[in-house]
C-alpha cells in the first residue's frame, strides 16, 4: 500500500498539482491579455478602453467570460456535429499542452524533455487542425474560406520558423529548452542573430493568425472567418486557445532569443528578482509588441502574405542556416556536444 502510494499515486497527484499551478495562472493571464489588448489599443486610439466593470474596468474579462458561459451553444443544422464540437476542444487543448515543456526558471519545468523545442514546434504545427476542422464542420462558405486561408498560411510560415529555430539550435547544440536558455548566459541570441529574431517574431504573428496576418478572420470580407458559426463556450474556447497561443509564441520568442528567465545583467539588483518574474516580464514586453503591431499596421493582402512567406522569409532563413553554420565552423565556435 505504501509502495503503491509512493510509486504511483503521489507522483500522479504531484503532477496534477503542478499542472494546476501552471494552467490557472495561464488562464488568468489569457483573461488579462484580452483586457490589456483593449486598454493598449484604446490608448493608441486616444480612447479609454473598458472602464466600467470594476475599478479601471479590471473585472471586464470576467464579465465577458461569464456572459459567454451563460449563453446558448448553437449548433447549425447543416453542421457535422462531432467535428464541430471537437474543433474548439482541439484548439484549446493544444494551446495548453504546449506549456508542459516551458521552463519558467532554472529547473522550474513540468517535463524537461530532450527534444523540448521540437515538441513546441510539433504542437504549434497541430494548431491548424482546430481551425481546419471548425471551418469544414460549420458547413458555411465564410468559415470554410477562413479555414483554408489559415491552413495555407500556417503551413507556409512554419517552414521559415523551422529554419530560424535551426539557426538558434546551431548555436546551442541541444534541443532542450533549459539548455537553450543557459546557452544565452553570456549574450542573448537576439544580438548575434538579430535578423532571425525579427523574422521569427513576424512568423509568430502569422502562426497565431494575428494582425497584420489575420486573414483567416478578416471581418471585412469573411465576417469572422472560421469561427463565424460558433457561439457561447465553443467560441470562448477558440478565443482562449488563440490568446494562450499568443502567450506561448511570445514565450518561445523569449526562450529562443531573449534569454528566457535570465536577468539582462547578472548583477545585484537584477538577480534578486526571481526567475519566473523575469520570464513573465519579457513575455509581457513581447505581447505588447503583438498588440502594438495590431494597432499600427493594416492587414496584408492574401497573395502578398504568401509571397512574403515563401519568397522572402524562406530564402532568407535558409541562407541564414548556411551562414550561421559556416561562421560557427569557420571560427571554431561550434558548441561542444555532451
Amino acid at each position: 500500500m505504501v509502495e503503491l502510494w509512493n510509486n504511483y499515486l503521489w507522483p500522479l497527484i504531484w503532477i496534477v498539482i503542478l499542472i494546476v499551478v501552471i494552467v490557472v495562472p495561464l488562464l488568468v493571464a489569457v483573461a488579462y491579455l484580452t483586457y490589456a489588448e483593449r486598454k493598449v489599443i484604446g490608448a493608441m486610439h486616444l480612447r479609454k478602453g473598458p472602464n466600467v466593470v470594476g475599478p479601471f474596468g479590471l473585472l471586464q474579462p470576467f464579465a465577458d467570460g461569464l456572459k459567454l458561459f451563460l449563453k446558448e451553444t448553437v449548433i447549425p443544422t447543416g453542421a457535422n456535429r462531432g467535428v464541430f464540437i471537437a474543433a474548439p476542444m482541439v484548439t484549446f487543448f493544444l494551446a495548453l499542452v504546449a506549456w508542459a515543456v516551458i521552463p519558467f526558471g532554472e529547473g522550474m519545468v513540468l517535463a524537461n524533455i530532450n527534444v523540448g523545442i521540437m515538441y513546441l514546434f510539433a504542437i504549434s504545427s497541430l494548431g491548424v487542425y482546430g481551425i481546419l476542422m471548425a471551418g469544414w464542420a460549420s458547413n458555411s462558405r465564410y468559415a470554410f474560406l477562413g479555414a483554408l486561408r489559415s491552413a495555407a498560411q500556417m503551413v507556409s510560415y512554419e517552414v521559415a520558423m523551422g529554419f530560424i529555430i535551426i539557426t538558434v539550435l546551431l548555436c546551442v547544440g541541444s534541443l532542450n529548452l533549459t539548455d537553450i536558455v543557459m546557452a544565452q548566459k553570456t549574450v542573448w541570441f537576439v544580438i548575434p542573430l538579430l535578423p532571425m529574431a525579427v523574422l521569427f517574431f513576424i512568423s509568430t504573428l502569422a502562426e497565431t493568425n494575428r494582425h497584420p496576418f489575420d486573414l483567416p478572420e478578416a471581418e471585412a470580407e469573411l465576417v469572422a472567418g472560421y469561427n463565424v458559426e460558433y457561439s457561447a463556450m465553443t467560441f470562448a474556447m477558440f478565443f482562449l486557445g488563440e490568446y494562450a497561443n499568443m502567450i506561448l509564441m511570445a514565450g518561445m520568442t523569449v526562450i529562443l532569443f531573449f534569454g528566457g528567465w535570465l536577468p539582462p545583467i547578472d548583477i545585484a539588483p537584477f538577480n534578486w528578482i526571481p526567475d519566473p518574474v523575469w520570464f513573465a516580464l519579457k513575455i509581457s514586453a513581447v505581447l505588447f509588441v503583438f498588440i502594438w503591431v495590431r494597432a499600427a499596421f493594416p492587414r496584408y493582402r492574401y497573395d502578398q502574405l504568401m509571397r512574403l512567406g515563401w519568397k522572402v522569409f524562406l530564402p532568407i532563413s535558409l541562407a541564414a542556416v548556411v551562414v550561421v553554420a559556416g561562421v560557427l565552423v569557420a571560427f571554431d565556435l561550434t558548441p561542444v556536444v555532451k
Partner: protein
C-alpha cells in the same frame, strides 16, 4: 513498468482502432481525421521506445504538414458518398492481397530476427545507451557520416519531385496583370509624376 505497459496498450489500441476507422468511416474527411489520430498514437509509441526525436519528427512532418494537405484536398473534393461505397467489394481482393503480402513480409523479418538474433545486428549501427548520448545527437552522427550519400540522395529525389510538380502544374497565362514588387519599388517620382502649372479656368 506497469505504467509503461498501460501506456503502450493505450497507444497501440487507439492506433489500431483509429486505423480500422480510417478504412471504414463513411465520410472521407473523418477518415483523414482518424488517420491523423493513428499517426499521433504511432508517435506516442515512438516515445515509449525512447525514440523521442523520431516521434517529434513524425508529428511535425506527417501530422503537421502532410496530413494538413491531405485534409485540405479531401475537404475541397465534391464527393458522392454513395458512389464511393460502390466499388468496395470489387477492390477488396486486391486490398486483402496487399495486406497479406505486407503481413508475410513482416513475419519473415521478425521471424528471422527471432531465429538468428545476430542477423538483426549486422545490418544496423550499434545503438548507444540513452544516458551516453541523446537520441538526436546519435541520429545526427550516423546520418551525416556513414549515410551522408544516401541522405543527400533522398534530398535530391525530393527536390526532383518538387520541381516535377511545379513544371507539370505551372502555366504562364498571357494577359494577367501581376504585381511586380521590384518594379514598384524601383519607380521614381520624377518618372511617373509630372508637375504642371495650370492657368485658372483653362484646364490642361
Amino acid at each position: 513498468m506497469i505504467i509503461q505497459a498501460l501506456a503502450f496498450y493505450m497507444f497501440a489500441g487507439i492506433a489500431i482502432a483509429a486505423g480500422i476507422m480510417v478504412i471504414s468511416a463513411r465520410n472521407p474527411v473523418h477518415s483523414v481525421l482518424f488517420l491523423i489520430l493513428t499517426f499521433f498514437n504511432a508517435a506516442g509509441l515512438f516515445v515509449l521506445l525512447g525514440a523521442e526525436f523520431l516521434a517529434m519528427i513524425l508529428v511535425v512532418v506527417y501530422v503537421g504538414a502532410v496530413a494538413v494537405l491531405f485534409l485540405f484536398v479531401v475537404m475541397m473534393l465534391d464527393i458522392n458518398f454513395a458512389e464511393l461505397r460502390e466499388g468496395f467489394l470489387q477492390y477488396l481482393p486486391i486490398g486483402a492481397l496487399v495486406g497479406l503480402i505486407l503481413l508475410v513480409e513482416l513475419a519473415m523479418v521478425f521471424g528471422g530476427w527471432h531465429f538468428a538474433p545476430e542477423a538483426a545486428k549486422s545490418g544496423a549501427m550499434p545503438i548507444p545507451s540513452p544516458d551516453m548520448v541523446t537520441n538526436t545527437h546519435a541520429l545526427g552522427r550516423v546520418l551525416y557520416t556513414n549515410y551522408v550519400y544516401l541522405f543527400q540522395a533522398a534530398g535530391v529525389v525530393l527536390l526532383v519531385a518538387m520541381i516535377g510538380a511545379i513544371v507539370l502544374t505551372h502555366r504562364s497565362r498571357p494577359g494577367v496583370r501581376k504585381q511586380d514588387i521590384s518594379r514598384q519599388v524601383s519607380r521614381r517620382a520624377e518618372e511617373t509624376v509630372e508637375m504642371r502649372k495650370v492657368e485658372p479656368g483653362s484646364g490642361i
